[in-house]
């Protein structure tokens, strides 16, 4: 299951960033497909990106002097959230894949259980993605995308590094802000080697939004309580520190389905609940 998911993540990640001309010429795609947000955290200034980053787009509308509410982008994110929840994080986010691949490097691993640090991503969402872009403006009434500007390591990796490598003029303009963002990127990537998806668990505002939909999304991780023996196999395999036998709809669950694969009594299933009922009937 893990390899199948990795392959799926790889294919979707490449498809989302497959304007290869951009990587050769140091430019970004300027077509109409950029009007649509892609599901995961993927910088729209990545030279290969066909679509827009949902978090960047959300801030762009907040930044507009004439508007205060972003209905279009919020609607797109909400639509994905209500259908898939954090399945997007586990299956469709290129930056999540990068962190997972780094975690496969042989090294000592640090396993952090449920911690209050998980709430940091909600603070990042509230302060850097919503409040500051709405409230902090220049004399022309225009704001900044503060999360992108101060934090986003995906933007540094996917956009800054290739664009600065290919454009001398951009390279010349890079200053302390780039150094700060590059430092955050290095810290994130280094942490990813020893810890599973640290950015997703503690920082990502998009994961925070999708997590809020986990309890009501159409796609669900479902537990059959009659079958579950509470053996703890699912808890042991979950690297997001979720206990699927207690709370299968946890906001931290990225629906990677590792717990489904490891359950010895097939008490867990992932999918649309109506389809799952049929499946259980067959098993029973």
């Amino acid at each position: 299951m893990t390899l199948r998911r990795t392959a799926f993540q790889g294919v979707t990640g490449i498809l989302q960033n497959s304007w290869f001309t951009g990587f050769l010429r140091g430019r970004i795609w300027r077509g109409s497909s950029k009007a649509v947000c892609i599901p995961g955290l993927n910088c729209y200034s990545c030279p290969g990106a066909w679509g827009s980053c949902p978090i960047g787009s959300l801030q762009a509308v907040f930044n507009r002097a004439s508007d205060r509410i972003s209905m279009y982008v919020a609607g797109l994110i909400g639509l994905l959230g209500i259908v898939l929840g954090r399945l997007v994080c586990g299956w469709l986010c290129p930056f999540g894949l990068i962190q997972e691949l780094l975690y496969r490097i042989r090294s000592r691993k640090v396993r952090i259980g449920p911690t209050r640090l998980r709430f940091l991503k909600y603070a990042v969402l509230a302060v850097l993605v919503i409040l500051m872009p709405l409230l902090v403006r220049d004399r022309f009434g225009v704001g900044d995308p503060w999360f992108c500007k101060l934090v986003c390591p995906a933007g540094t990796l996917e956009a800054a590094l290739p664009l600065l490598a290919l454009n001398a003029s951009l390279r010349g303009a890079a200053g302390w802000l780039f150094v700060w963002k590059a430092s955050l990127l290095v810290a994130t990537l280094a942490a990813s080697v020893v810890m599973y998806r640290p950015f997703c668990r503690f920082v990502c505002p998009l994961g925070a939004i999708y997590g809020l939909f986990n309890r009501v999304s159409f796609v669900q991780l479902t537990l059959n309580e009659d079958t579950c023996t509470h053996c703890g196999a699912c808890v042991a395999v979950c690297r997001m520190a979720v206990d699927p036998s207690h709370d299968p709809a946890s906001a931290e669950c990225i629906r990677c389905s590792d717990c489904v694969a490891v359950c010895p009594v097939h008490a867990l299933s992932l999918g649309l609940p109506s389809a799952q009922r049929k499946q259980r009937t067959v098993i029973d």
Binding site: S57, D67, P145, A160
Partner: protein, 63 residues
């Protein structure tokens, strides 16, 4: 046989939850769709595409 999923047990202890959550799902789906349409009519698509087709200097640590 009893099975548990969030859409059946949230909030816990209520027998009518499944229907309520299904209503909530449909409500949120409609709300999201209406948001997309309303935002598009409000010119947000132009804002998004204008931002996206130009190199985001903030994203690359210059702006």
């Amino acid at each position: 046989m009893s099975s548990r999923a969030c859409w059946q047990t949230f909030p816990p202890g209520r027998s009518t939850v499944s229907t309520r959550v299904r209503v909530l799902q449909v409500f949120l789906l409609v709300l999201a769709t209406l948001g997309i349409v309303a935002g598009a009519m409000n010119g947000e698509v132009r804002t998004v595409i204008t931002k996206a087709i130009n190199v985001c200097l903030q994203c690359i640590g210059i702006g």
